[in-house]
């Protein structure tokens, strides 16, 4: 049941992207993802800290960092291109040495539309990791998410897109976007 719900949420989240969404998320997860909240691991910057999670289950070991950013300048156009994802999605918090792997795709979380893109990260310890940057907007506000994969990247991406659709995260995101 839980797995079905996760798949359904992912399908809703990716619904707008059509073929592109399929390319980003080629296969359903074999087991459910469970995100366990951990401490926000990054030093303070210009945006208020967000929430950090570590995955058990389908994306074991993956980490997800979610933030609200109020004061996004492209109020009318929204997250219209991949460069915008590069700029805002917080991938650089994990490692500033990032390379996009491919063109991004349109995604949605709830009513908010935006884009997701995959990256290769060179970590300080010399390791290379896959990551996914997600940015969706509501007028002049953003919800951004950066997911650091440690396994199947497609599964991580599906789980990263589905998790913000949970009621708890939607409630948190609405409050954060409203400045509450």
């Amino acid at each position: 049941m839980r797995r079905r719900a996760t798949i359904a949420l992912a399908a809703i989240a990716l619904g707008a992207s059509g073929v592109g969404a399929y390319q980003l998320a080629p296969a359903p997860a074999e087991q459910a993802a469970h995100w366990r909240e951990i401490a926000w691991p990054f030093p303070r910057d210009g945006w208020p800290k967000g929430r950090a999670f570590r995955c058990d289950g389908a994306c074991t070991g993956a980490e997800l960092y979610v933030r609200a950013k109020r004061g996004f300048c492209n109020c009318d156009r929204g997250v219209a291109d991949d460069d915008e994802v590069d700029r805002v999605a917080d991938i650089d918090l994990i490692s500033p040495r990032l390379s996009a792997m491919a063109l991004g795709e349109e995604v949605g979380i709830g009513d908010m539309r935006g884009r997701a893109r995959r990256y290769d990260l060179d970590m300080p310890d010399g390791a290379r990791h896959a990551a996914i940057g997600i940015a969706v907007s509501r007028r002049c506000e953003l919800i951004v998410a950066a997911a650091l994969g440690r396994g199947d990247v497609s599964a991580v991406q599906r789980a990263a897109l589905a998790f913000p659709e949970t009621q708890e995260m939607k409630t948190w995101a609405t409050a954060a976007l409203d400045g509450r």
Binding site: W47, R70, G71, C75, D76, R87, L98, A100, G179, R180
Partner: protein
């Protein structure tokens, strides 16, 4: 009995809080709030949201060219009463020769679109006779056309501008700089292939009819094909021309600001291919700011004598850059955006030395509605105020006059907060289940002219206010008593 007392106490508290709330908010019909500044004249600018004013002495006239943001949700294209037509916000051209009676000459429509997605925000003006290859009978106005293009118009007859040049194909524009004696322009553009929304396109506009591209410029990591984190986008540059040989670039808006000091000659003549090495080549240094603050305006004031250091063997004069952040969120829902002074005398090691903000409690500005914080300063380097006074647009706290003769200790000596009118647009914040809106002045930009008049314009559609100093503030600038 106890419950009646409680009820009465609650009513008194409610009445007091309501009265206090009412005091915080501006009301139509109330007089302006002022200290050592007074109103000379106004123009409603057709109730268009205003950004950059530039005042130009043109023959025996003084003309104000005022850039506009796009329209609002309620009124995307206000009606121009001079034509009877709904026109997307563009450029207002106002004769301010008699500042007590400004005369609106022309509205030049801009790009369709609301707020920052339309209009024609930026404007600079150069005489054809000062440009090396300009038509000596022409007066050239450089403006943005929304996010799409830069345009040059001949405004020799300011009521009848004629389009000269259009540089289009951009994804954004902003606050450019144009050297009137050389024609070199630093255009804030969004080149389609760059990874940032705003960077610099350097042009030779010495012959405005035939623009010559010199190069693209930005921070390494913004250029096409680069990887890694994308540095903060450009807000605007100010050049000191060939004599000063420096260009001061301000990056960021309300976060992660950077002051970048650039060797102008190397920028213009150095290798132009936008590789990381070539982009670094003209850079002298950077001053990274707090993640809480951005750099809207980076205004250089070089070789300033500082009275406190007059007896010192070295360092009697200092090179100062005033950095103004831009507040972008309503009702103080961000870190305070304010004014910073950097000592860049030792260019490789610039250092912040002082700051200025309006005390919030002096007007309960976080409760008034709209933005509170700095946005921009005057950019005129005319002797009347240069290195003596600076004027800061502070949104709902109006304009602030600063004595900056000692940049280590800037001091406010005057202010003016215009009255709101029926044209003043509301500003809202999200609340549970909807939005709560308030109406407040939003002094957006400020400029001065060589006569000493101060021009402020409102982002919330309240128009243009022309001011002059009064009282002791005049002495700071060396102006005679009035």
């Amino acid at each position: 009995m106890i419950s009646r007392v409680r009820l009465a106490a609650c009513l008194v508290l409610f009445a007091c809080s309501t009265a206090a709330q009412a005091q915080k908010q501006q009301v139509i019909g109330a007089p302006p709030e002022a200290s050592n500044m007074k109103l000379v004249g106004t123009n409603d600018l057709q109730a268009r949201s205003a950004y950059q004013p530039t005042i130009h002495h043109q023959g025996d006239r003084w003309i104000a060219y005022i850039g506009h943001h796009g329209g609002t949700d309620d009124v995307p294209s206000p009606v121009n009463p001079m034509t009877g037509q709904a026109e997307p916000n563009g450029t207002s051209i106002v004769d301010v020769t008699d500042p007590a009676h400004p005369k609106y000459l022309r509205h030049l429509p801009g790009q369709e679109g609301k707020y920052e997605s339309g209009g024609a925000q930026m404007v600079r003006v150069c005489d054809g006779k000062s440009l090396p290859m300009g038509d000596p009978n022409a007066v050239y106005m450089l403006r943005t056309f929304g996010s799409q293009a830069h345009e040059i118009w001949n405004v020799a007859d300011p009521a009848s501008p004629v389009l000269v040049t259009r540089l289009s194909g951009l994804k954004d524009t902003h606050k450019s700089w144009w050297e009137c004696d050389t024609g070199i322009a630093y255009l804030v553009s969004g080149a389609p292939d760059w990874r940032t929304r705003r960077m610099t396109q350097v042009y030779d506009l010495s012959d405005p009819a035939h623009p010559q591209k010199i190069r693209d410029f930005g921070l390494p990591g913004q250029e096409p094909g680069s990887t890694g984190a994308v540095p903060t986008e450009l807000h605007g540059p100010i050049s000191t021309g060939p004599n000063g040989n420096r260009v001061y670039f301000g990056y960021g808006t309300n976060k992660g600001g950077i002051l970048q000091i650039v060797d102008r000659e190397k920028l213009l003549t150095g290798p132009k291919e936008p590789t990381p090495d070539n982009l670094r080549y003209p850079e002298i240094s950077r001053l990274p700011m707090s993640a809480f603050n951005g750099a809207h305006t980076t205004f250089p004031m070089l070789d300033m004598p500082v009275a406190e250091f007059a007896e010192d063997k070295d360092g009697k004069t200092r090179d100062i850059v005033m950095i103004v952040d831009e507040a972008i969120l309503n009702e103080c829902t961000e870190a305070r955006q304010m004014v910073w002074f950097a000592d860049v005398t030792t260019e490789a090691r610039p250092m912040m030395i002082s700051s200025y903000t309006v005390p919030e409690a002096s007007g309960q500005f976080c409760q008034r509605g709209g933005r509170f914080g700095s946005h921009s300063s005057n950019e005129s380097m005319a002797p009347v105020y240069y290195k003596k006074m600076a004027f800061i647009a502070f949104f709902n706290a109006g304009v602030r006059a600063l004595d900056i003769r000692d940049p280590y200790h800037p001091k406010e000596v005057g202010y003016f907060i215009p009255s709101i009118t029926s044209a003043t647009d509301k500003r809202c914040i999200p609340v549970e289940g909807g939005a709560r809106c308030k109406v407040a002045i939003q002094t957006n930009n400020v400029e001065t002219d060589d006569r000493g008049y101060i021009y402020i314009v409102d982002r919330a559609n309240t128009g243009l206010h022309i001011l002059e100093l009064s009282g002791p503030a005049r002495a700071v600038a060396g102006l005679p008593k009035n």
